[in-house]
């Protein structure tokens, strides 16, 4: 076989093997591809991606699927690849509440996300156990996302309470952990 044919043969083999390898290991070339595949293999979705936010290990993908809201995480691995998210499935939105939310963490990365059911809410504020306060007025359609990074692994960084305010700064919704 001539040298050029060998090169082409190699490239074809590599494409096939890479595809097989990617499916077998859960490593993907794009974050969205890792996200979509993680949803399908856990039998959730396909959800509509509303917002993507970077954090130091990868990306948070804030989505809506039917009556559920989720925030999947995809992590960068080996420079080029993206790995399956963890916390793929969402929570079911309770429309009776002015806003509904959930929160979680992975090592020192925390996230709290949710959906606003009462559009009077213009501002959301969360307080952690250690007193830190985060405020958000930027929403993605009707979804919101808070992310924070802890300095250590004690509970002082846990979520404590959440408050939703209207445009006149009245509290429309309140909840505690």
């Amino acid at each position: 076989m001539s040298r050029n044919k060998k090169i082409i043969k190699n490239i074809v083999i590599l494409i096939i093997l890479f595809f097989v390898f990617s499916k077998a290991t859960g490593l993907y070339l794009t974050p969205l591809s890792a996200h979509e595949n993680s949803e399908r293999s856990i039998h959730y979705g396909p959800s509509e991606v509303i917002h993507i936010e970077d954090f130091d290990r990868g990306k948070y993908i804030l989505c809506k699927y039917d009556k559920w809201v989720s925030c999947n995480t995809v992590k960068r691995e080996l420079f080029f690849f993206w790995r399956f998210g963890s916390q793929v499935t969402g929570f079911e939105n309770d429309k009776a509440k002015a806003l509904d939310y959930t929160w979680g963490m992975s090592y020192e990365n925390y996230k709290l996300y949710g959906i606003i059911n009462d559009d009077k809410i213009r501002k959301i504020q969360i307080t952690l156990n250690n007193g830190e306060v985060f405020t958000e007025t930027e929403f993605y359609e009707d979804l919101f996302l808070f992310t924070w990074k802890a300095d250590n692994d004690d509970q002082s960084w846990y979520f404590n309470n959440i408050k939703g305010y209207d445009s006149n700064n009245n509290i429309v919704f309140e909840d505690e952990y």
Binding site: S2, R3, N4
Partner: protein
Amino acid sequence: MGGVNVDFDKGLIGGSTVLLILSLLEETDRYGYEIIRELELRSDKAFQLKEGTLYPVLHKLENDGYVESYKAKGDRGRDRKYYKITRKGKKQLAKEKEKWNIFSMSVNKVIGGELYAPR
């Protein structure tokens, strides 16, 4: 027996080098020196390439897929790089033979003059 020491224009030989080499390989696998010797013997030394220039031709034939090489022991027990014609090479050889036939017939027609003139 004495060879006719004809001074062939290198261009003529160059053009049919592939034909000659593939032809010799079609008969049997050979290594470089063998090809040179066989050319000398059969042409009564009319064909005498600058021997080193055979190898770029062989390597090109291999790149193009017309021949394959392998190592084996020749006579004298020394390891040698043998060349073998491939199926693609045999097809190319047929084409080259065809081209040569047409070429030599055309030349003959021109120089033959009356002998070949249409009646």
